[in-house]
Amino acid sequence: MCPNERDRPVGSTGPVPETTPGLGERIPRLLLAYWPLGPLVRWVARLPTSVHSKLLGAFLLIALLLIALGAMSLQSIASVARQSRLLDQARERVDASRQIEHALGLQMTFTRNALLVRDDATIESIFRENNRFRDTFDRLEAAAPPDQRETIQRLRNTQDKVMATVARIAALIREDKADEAMDLHLSEGYPLYREIATLVTRAVRNEEAGMGQLREGVETTYRRALLLTGGFAAASIVLALGLGFVISWSFILPVRQAEGFLGQIAKGDFSATIDVPNRDEFGALARQMNEMSRELHQLYDDQRRAAHQLQVLNAELEQASRAKSNFLASMSHELRTPMNAILGFTEMIRDGLYGEVPPEIQDPVSDIHTCGKQLLGLINNVLDLSKIEAGHMELALGEYVVEDVVNTVKLSLRSLAATKGLEFVTTVPPDLPLSLGDGKRIIQCLMNLAGNALKFTREGRVEIGVEIEGETLRFAVSDTGIGIPADQVENIFEEFRQADATVSRDFGGTGLGLSITRKLVELHGGRIWVESQAGKGSTFFFSIPVRVAREAAA
């Protein structure tokens, strides 16, 4: 990592492709550039752990948050339930206190009634009511909070006193001392009732105050639970979003960089290196890509150097080829010019342009002419081969009649065959289609083959035959000559080859004819082969298309 890269906003590191970003692209860029999310993304990227672990960590964190949120909600619900329960109890106690107050009122009434009516039944109802009173007290005391216990104790004590007083009043009534009973009721009973009423009122007031507090407590707990749950949920969402953003961008950024980097490489620019803060799989990938870029750069340079060298070499070769062509052209001309004079003068002498040729001169003049022609043939062969080697042999394509071609060869070689006493036959099937190719070169091929056949045959016959098979013409030149040993058939078409070194002594020739013939046949898109038996004769075949494709011969 470059030391100064820390200063740059994360969103701008690396060669991110410069396209017009959409809204979904602009927002993350803004967030990365101006929020503390950038360093966080970098921090996550730099964590030396795998992508898998990072994702798992993020999911676990979010899961923990959800669990905590659930726990807190449960706690709030429990708290609210407890306070509600307390409230219910307080309400029960208030009810009980009210019952006491009510019972007190009844007792007062009964006591008054007893004083007025003076019978046992009424006094009994006072005691009955008093007993119910006691039950309520028990309930009240059991449920009361500690601070209320004292009030209830006092209530119970006062009630006991009331009971004692009522008992005395009842006794006085039974003894028919109504006035005394009335006095007792007014002097002791009534103040005691008043005291109980006061105590009950105080207890109710206390309970009501406690209830108010409890209600407020429930309200507060409820509000706090709501706030906490809401806050927690909001925090969870923000955290989840933030984590998602940070983690995804810690992956997206190196991928973007890689994309730009590979784009540059694809354009042949190897100057950049990819530099991501990640220490996870993406970091490893970036390292591999740098390695790959270096290798590619090396290869690219090597290849460019090689291409340049090849170009230079090509130019040199082209120049050499041009020089060779020029040399060939001028050599051809230079050799032919004196040949022209030699053959020209000889022909004119033989034609009697300089007067009648004396008989004793006729033979040597004829020899000069024959040798001149031979020399010309050799020159032509050497030049042809040079042309072929230099890649300058081109066919002059045109339409030709196979029969005419064969007849030309027959006419040229007829006298040679006759001189050697050989039978010379040509067989051309009728109705052959008009052919396309270089007629002169095909004549040259047949001349070479038939010339050889005549040369290497001492007795018997030489035959030129033509067959057509579909779109292919097959020429065959057979003889009854010396034949070619089996082990030499293979390379008979190579340059400067003759079956045997002694052959050239006996029969002459340079061994170029077959080589040139093969090249010419191949230029026509055909092939050449030989079937031979040493001592019995040979048959040379070549097959070429009836109509040579123009581009194939170019």
Binding site: S325, L328, A329, S330, M331, S332, H333, R336, T337, P338, M339, N340, A341, I342, L343, G344, F345, E347, M348, D351, L353, Y354, L376, L383, K387, H392, M393, E394, L395, A396
Partner: protein, 122 residues
């Protein structure tokens, strides 16, 4: 009497044609390079030009082209002597404007035949 111009740098070849035509009614004039060939044609306006393909100073093909381009000499028949060096010599001769071509070494008999064909003896 018809005039024939032979443009050829080799003395022996010129001699052949000189002797070939000596027994005919043709008058032979000679030039030894391409430039001289063009100049002589313009000055003498022969009935036929025999042009060697490879000449000093100006190639036979270029000389033929120049003669064809000049209205004064455009109609004069030209025989180009090719040396059959590389493929397409004949085609090049035709493109340059030759009426006929003959490959070196030519037979004097054939050449005379061609001359008589293109510029019949009067």
């Amino acid at each position: 009497m018809k005039t024939v111009l032979y443009v050829e740098d080799n003395e022996f070849n010129r001699k052949i044609v000189r002797q070939l035509l000596s027994r005919t009614s043709y008058r032979l004039i000679e030039a030894v390079d391409g430039e001289a060939g063009v100049t002589t044609t313009r000055e003498a306006v022969p009935d036929l030009v025999i042009m060697d393909i490879q000449l000093p100073k100006l190639s036979g093909l270029e000389a033929t082209r120049q003669l064809r381009a000049d209205p004064a000499t455009a109609a004069i028949p030209i025989i180009v002597i090719t040396s059959f060096a590389l493929g397409g010599d004949e085609e090049k001769a035709r493109e340059a404007g030759a009426d006929a071509y003959l490959a070196k070494p030519y037979s004097p008999r054939e050449l005379l035949q061609m001359i008589r064909q293109l510029a019949p003896e009067s």
